[in-house]
């Protein structure tokens, strides 16, 4: 697997350095420990949002740092959650006194590291709330397991909660908005190929020319099951149906439809998936009012996609439409 990198162990740092150079107008990159903070942080009186997780999912999370979304992002090593000694200074750097929301994808590593960081930050006098994102319907939820993963829906949580913070919501209110997005979004993904972690050098899994993995996460881990290759319309139905069913969305309701690329799939193919997903939702009497199509929560160069559906109401639409200015998502300003 060829990669446009230098030293496999320098991938995250060098990439962040380039990211910081390219987006110096809106953010600053700190090294040792690594974290990214928006320009002008802390924003007086505003609740701050911090997210983070393993690298390899770019533009998540650093690409969403800026006005109207995250105040800081904390990137770990590739596919490895960041550590408290990164999360704590990021939290401190953005707290204006109004408190900080940690948006955490539900993985054991992320949960544990953010837990420690939150505890220690609280001890330093910062009010921290944690919102766990667990939108992946491929994983059966149960008290006895690690629970569902946080995947594509995370972007929607970050955008909408970020807008609530700009609106002036209190710490509890921003947390509540984020939680309501989590409750109303579901996702499912498919891989046509594995991906190669730079330090590993071999693909996370191998698929034959006629196989695909259904129900993958975003760390190159294998999915729930492997099935023979199907056409785009068939795959779309396989992803969308469990999402719709689990969300319990139906006739007369409004939705945001998000087709997310895993990194190595051409945009044109994502639109083929979007087309069918929009048709299927239409057939169910669900109105697609907003859409997002592109590579937002990736697994390095994996080929495949995920489909997320977010149930909308007037408030969520308003917060979604609110201005945002980050490296990867921008409108209204």
């Amino acid at each position: 697997m060829k990669k446009l990198i230098n030293d496999p162990r320098a991938v995250v740092d060098e990439s962040l350095e380039g990211f910081g150079l390219a987006h110096a107008d809106i953010l600053e990159v700190h090294a040792n420990p690594a974290f990214v903070v928006r320009k002008g942080a802390p924003v007086a009186g505003k609740v701050a949002l911090v997210s983070g997780g393993g690298s390899g999912h770019e533009p998540l999370h650093a690409g969403f740092v800026g006005h109207g979304m995250l105040d800081a992002a904390v990137p770990g090593a590739v596919f490895t959650s960041p550590t408290p000694d990164q999360i704590i200074p990021a939290t401190e750097a953005v707290d204006s006194g109004a408190g900080v929301v940690h948006i955490v994808k539900n993985y054991t590593g992320d949960v544990l590291n953010f837990e420690t960081a939150a505890e220690l930050s609280q001890a330093e006098g910062i009010s921290v709330r944690t919102v766990l994102v667990d939108d992946d319907v491929a994983v059966q939820d149960s008290l006895y397991t690690a629970g569902r993963r946080g995947v594509g829906g995370t972007v929607l949580v970050e955008k909408i909660a970020g807008a609530a913070a700009v609106r002036g919501d209190t710490l509890d209110a921003v947390t509540g908005v984020a939680e309501s997005v989590v409750r109303n979004v579901r996702t499912m993904g498919v891989a046509l190929s594995g991906c190669t972690v730079p330090h590993a050098g071999v693909p996370s899994f191998e698929l034959a020319e006629d196989e695909i993995e259904i129900g993958i996460g975003i760390h190159g881990e294998p999915g729930r099951h492997r099935i023979p290759m199907e056409d785009a319309d068939g795959i779309t139905a396989r992803l969308l149906e469990p999402v719709v069913e689990d969300l319990g969305i139906g006739k007369g309701e409004r939705a945001l439809l998000f087709v997310n690329g895993m990194g190595g799939t051409p945009l044109s193919e994502l639109y083929i998936v979007y087309r069918r997903a929009a048709q299927l939702l239409g057939e169910k009497g669900i109105t697609v009012e907003r859409s997002l199509v592109g590579n937002y929560v990736t697994s390095l160069e994996m080929q495949g996609c995920s489909i997320s559906v977010l149930r909308l109401d007037d408030e969520l639409v308003e917060l979604w439409d609110a201005p945002v200015h980050t490296a990867a998502l921008r409108w209204g300003m």
Binding site: P33, G54, G76, A77, V78, F79, T80, S81, P82, T83, P84, D85, Y107, T108, G109, L112, N113, E115, T116, A138, V139, Q140, Y144, T145, A146, R149, V197, H199, A200, V202, S204, F205, G217, H219, G220, E221, P222, R224, H225
Partner: protein
Amino acid sequence: MTVGLGVDWAIEWLQLSARKMSEHRVELIELDRAIGDSDHGENMDRGFKAVLEKIAEAAPDTPGAALKLAAMALMSKVGGAAGPLYGTAYLRASTALGLLEDVDAAALAAALEAARDGIVARGKAEPGDKTMVDAWTPAVEAANEAVALGADAVAVLAAAAEAAEVGAVTTDPLIARKGRASYLGERSAGHRDPGAVSTALLLRAAATAAGFPDGEQA
């Protein structure tokens, strides 16, 4: 004359751990690739390299201090699930050892138990969930048994290492219920848990550092 294991043992243990993590880096990555995300070996290697640096910076003067140093380095450099879990384990073990300069069999077994309890408290895994707990739990049991039978500190560590190694093997058929492997459901069966293997390696290093002959080294 001391009757137990002192700070030299603790430092030797951590240094040997670093060597083992580096030597088994690819193996641990491969295990994690099968049912996880291909990073466990990389994480542990990076973490114990940081432990080495910490030790070089400020030589600890008790076993407890050495383990505390290790705990802080692991927490801040490993990340993922293993970082906080091992960090907690080493921290709890350090606390259990307190300011002891010489660690005897009983103190060692108690420290191992504190470590295991810390992991369970943070990670909520039970034996059989296919995690490092499946190596730690038999290790703690074997250590306690050895103490009851009057073994010395070296023998306690040897018993713990042996039990952890067996424990790691027993994870093979299990279906994971915690950690990243749980997402695979039944597909996780037939693979060994990487964290259980790293636990066995670390406990083996503890025994070797204490002077117990190591099969792998010989």
